[in-house]
Symmetry: C2
Subunit: 305 residues, 2 copies
């Protein structure tokens, strides 16, 4: 047995639809341990959240009360408890969390709200905390942050506030088309081809209205001319990212742009934007949620002490 | 027992990915009986096609040889036997069929080829026979035929020839998004709302580059403002059809346009086109494949007698 168990001053939790991650945090914002599981919000009924959390964090609990601060889909209507959206403009690190009742007296759980926008209608949950983490890394950033993923977010930031944002279903479309549509016969499971990707980006940027036709062309060219599956994958990705860039043009044109995502995906967006003459800063999104939770925690401590 | 069995002069077969339909045909092009099953091409290995066909048509066979003329995915590389594509321009009723060897001596099976186009790369299988059926109904038609479906086709017809065509993945995108994406929580399984549909058509036609963003807005508005599921379904459909019309504009602008499809779907396209000032003729696509097979049969008889 280890001489000393890991102890948490507080616990940070990133609880999404398919996964949950937790960190045993120290008061100074560093973390002492990390744990994760597949107990995503999508697989749990309301009364299953507390046991799922305890399975993950129990080793870090002491005799007293340990505060837990969570973000993500855990706060949606279908989650543990609804944390209503805060409307933009808003400071993502200063959103007041919603307390959640627990049976275990050692826990004091609170969930951070997501952000909403009235027109055009849009929502985010979890990304607001990544944004707070980004602002911890880039204080005073004035420009646009792109968070590529299942539902890519373009976020206009100024004076530490989210001014406005837009979501694109690009990642989900890529997954559905490459895995479940007729294109699954033509598109490789992995692999990249930067030339084919950039060619498709340029094509979709100049003729975004042809998207549904160019998608079918991937299948046709694969059948007729033996288009390679890696090239097909790059083209599918390029058509979708290019169409997104066409729609998001007002966000990236003439602005300072940063992209935070999984490194390979962030690099794709950076190369697409570079082809349009936009130099961007890329960041690995992985630590941002933890940093954002630490920032929200610090802001809470300031207001309550 | 019936006094007289149905006898076929020849047999017409429409063999798609998920279904197969067959008709006992008379020499004059009328049909005496119809049969169908779920033995689609997608579920059959090569040696399973002949038994599946016999299960369907055996009652119609006489002592001698009965010719069978088939079209659709049965002629693809993954089908019973590959019937290589004919390149456009081509007369869809006069495509030479490819004979298929059978074990049963009562059968003489041939499969009609699909059509291909080199640039932009495109293919069709089955629709060429619907087009032949349409030309039987509308001889001398000079204009554009739209065949909405999983992969909607826009077909430029002149002098009984397919001059060029374009496919759009609109139907497959609708199915994937409404049944498998995050939108499935917001979109009704059925129902319509013409105002919401036409509003979305107009929006997508004027800003097709915003498609992936407007799709996510359906979800956001449903979460934030209780957007009704029937309205959400109409909007999803309108955004996809509108984006398709934006891409296919060179096909329908200033041309005579006909739409042949399932009646409800053909009516949707007709109303979208009418909102753009284009009056179209709509047809039920259901009988067109049989009519096209009859036309191809008649053309074959002419060349072989």
């Amino acid at each position: 047995m280890s001489a000393r168990a890991t102890y948490a001053d507080w616990i940070a939790v990133d609880w999404g639809t398919t996964h949950v991650r937790a960190w045993a945090m120290a008061e100074d914002g560093t973390h002492r341990a990390e744990a994760r599981s597949d107990d995503g919000m999508g697989a749990l009924s309301r009364e299953e959240f507390e046991p799922a959390l305890l399975r993950l964090i129990e080793p870090w609990l002491g005799a007293g009360i340990t505060p837990v601060l969570a973000c993500g889909m855990v706060g949606s209507r279908q989650g543990w408890a609804e944390a209503p959206y805060a409307s933009v403009p808003a400071r993502p690190a200063e959103l007041p969390p919603v307390p959640v009742a627990t049976r275990d007296p050692r826990l004091r759980v609170a969930i951070l709200p997501g952000l909403s926008q009235k027109a055009p209608p849009d929502v985010m949950r979890g990304e607001e905390t990544q944004i707070a983490g980004f602002l911890a890394e880039a204080p005073g950033f004035d420009g646009v942050l792109c968070l590529p993923g299942t539902h890519t977010k373009w976020v206009h930031l100024s004076a530490e506030e989210v001014v406005s944002f837009q979501s694109y279903m690009t990642g989900e479309l890529f997954e559905l088309l490459s895995e479940r549509s007729v294109l699954r016969h033509s598109v490789a499971r992995a692999g990249a081809d930067e030339d084919a990707f950039l060619e498709a980006v340029t094509e979709a940027l100049s003729r975004p209205e042809r998207l549904a036709q160019r998608l079918f062309s991937i299948r046709a060219e694969s059948v007729l001319a033996g288009l390679g599956p890696e090239v097909a994958r790059a083209r599918l990705s390029g058509l979708l990212v290019g169409a997104e860039l066409a729609g998001a043009r007002p966000y990236w044109l003439g602005r300072e742009v940063a992209v935070a995502g999984a490194p390979a995906l962030a690099a794709l967006y950076a190369s697409a934007l570079a082809s349009q003459g936009v130099a961007v800063r890329t960041l690995d999104a992985d630590p941002l949620t933890r940093l954002g939770l630490a920032r929200a925690w610090a802001a809470l401590r300031e207001t309550t002490t």
